[in-house]
């Protein structure tokens, strides 16, 4: 295994990290309104949320990647400057993450005791204050373990973005592999993915136990 393979594939690591971080951040933010639709007491909103979740979840990530990257330019080629491969990749990861995070938030919301709403309302706090200051922080805390597990899997799922030509780890491994007619670059890529996942998992566990120690629910 030559050093050139190691350094060649390493060129994609930063992009892999960026794709994961931006895709996850987008999903974590968009997941909130999706979850709110999904749990709304107003039926049309709830139905919309549900349909959106089923639609996004029902289509594989790689299909979303091609749809977002190629779809708009088919109608108007000038949209190609908007839907670059990098932006399309982040958008598709964000979209898929949004519905996943929405379901994590919804499950966490159900874990909050109804007594928390009641106590806050009995104190005269507004619905908005109750949601934002009493419920949301608790939901966030409950959601941390599942969210970090998802974020870790997103590091690996981001490899699919190589299919639309984003220069990340798997993209470099693929091109170097075909140049050298060797599978070695994929071994290297695998090592890099593990090297990214292990410290991230460690940091996630630290975050979780710190929060736990502070609140001790």
């Amino acid at each position: 295994m030559s050093g050139e393979v190691w350094s060649g594939v390493a060129n994609g690591i930063l992009t892999t990290v960026q794709l994961t971080v931006f895709g996850f951040a987008l999903g974590a933010v968009l997941g909130v309104p999706v979850m709110l639709l999904r749990v709304s007491t107003w039926r049309p909103a709830r139905w919309t949320g549900r349909a959106f979740i089923e639609l996004v979840r029902g289509v594989p990530l790689i299909v979303w990647l091609f749809l977002i990257y190629n779809g708009p330019t088919q109608f108007d080629p000038s949209l190609g400057t908007v839907f670059t491969s990098w932006r399309s990749g982040v958008a598709a990861l964000g979209l898929v993450s949004a519905v996943y995070m929405a379901e994590i938030y919804r499950g966490s919301l159900r874990a909050i005791n109804a007594g928390q709403w009641e106590a806050s309302q009995a104190l005269g706090m507004s619905r908005f204050d109750t949601a934002s200051r009493i419920i949301a922080p608790q939901v966030t805390r409950v959601a941390v373990p599942a969210s970090t597990t998802y974020a870790l899997s997103l590091i690996k799922d981001s490899s699919l973005v190589s299919a639309i030509g984003v220069f990340e780890t798997t993209y470099y491994a693929t091109t170097i592999s075909s140049t050298l007619s060797s599978a070695t670059p994929f071994v290297v890529a695998g090592v890099y993915y593990i090297a990214l996942t292990i410290p991230a998992a460690w940091a996630a566990r630290r975050l979780d136990s710190n929060l736990r120690r502070k609140v001790m629910r």
Binding site: Q116, G124, M125, P137, V215
Partner: protein
Amino acid sequence: MSLADAAASKTTSAIRLDGVEKRFGDHLVLKRISLEVQPGQVVALIGPSGAGKSTLLRCINLLERPTAGTITVDGVTVHADHEIKERDLAALRSRVGMVFQSFNLFPHMTALRNITLPQQRVLGRSKAEAEARARALLSRVGLADKADQYPARCSGGQQQRIAIARALALDPKVMLFDEPTSALDPEVGLEVLKVMRELADEGMTMAVVTHEMQFARDVSDHLVVMGDGDIIEEGDPHQIFADPQQARTRQFLRAVLDRE
């Protein structure tokens, strides 16, 4: 008392329920209940489980919306058959403090923050003002040293006293207690009952759902016995304990007093 005084005291009863009914679907849980609590009075509500005691209490601050009837607290009136305005709801809730069986402290905030946040958000008090009030109330319930603890680090009895302080911080006209000691060991419950007794002695208007028969008999001014969504019997606590008029009251008292 002059006629005018009598009229004034009538309109200023602390709590007044007129024909309050609550249905959950087909299930009639409160059967047109009328009840009046005078300022400074302590009313104890007792009765078998499922009688509707909690539901009645929760109707007073509109955690449950009654399906019929009228509720007046300290001059603020809400009719079940009119749409309840957000402003009336806030006005009513600001006058009523509530203490739950399960404490319901906010687990992500310290004891102090549990008490200051509602003051700041609901009454618009400054942080300094709210903290001064919170610390005064925490010492009053004997927990000055717990200000910076999270609820999970406090015993059940301590949590319930913090919850009482949190409700008192908003200067309610009326305090509602829904079995405040049922989740606690008897000795620990005593700490909470002591705080409640002091509150009663200071003239707080209180409605207390309780299984503590001693508290009902010795601390309350008025006893309400509920069964099956209705008031079976009400009156002077000592009299009812000594000589209940209704067979169902007798039956209930025999069952609970035997258990003690």
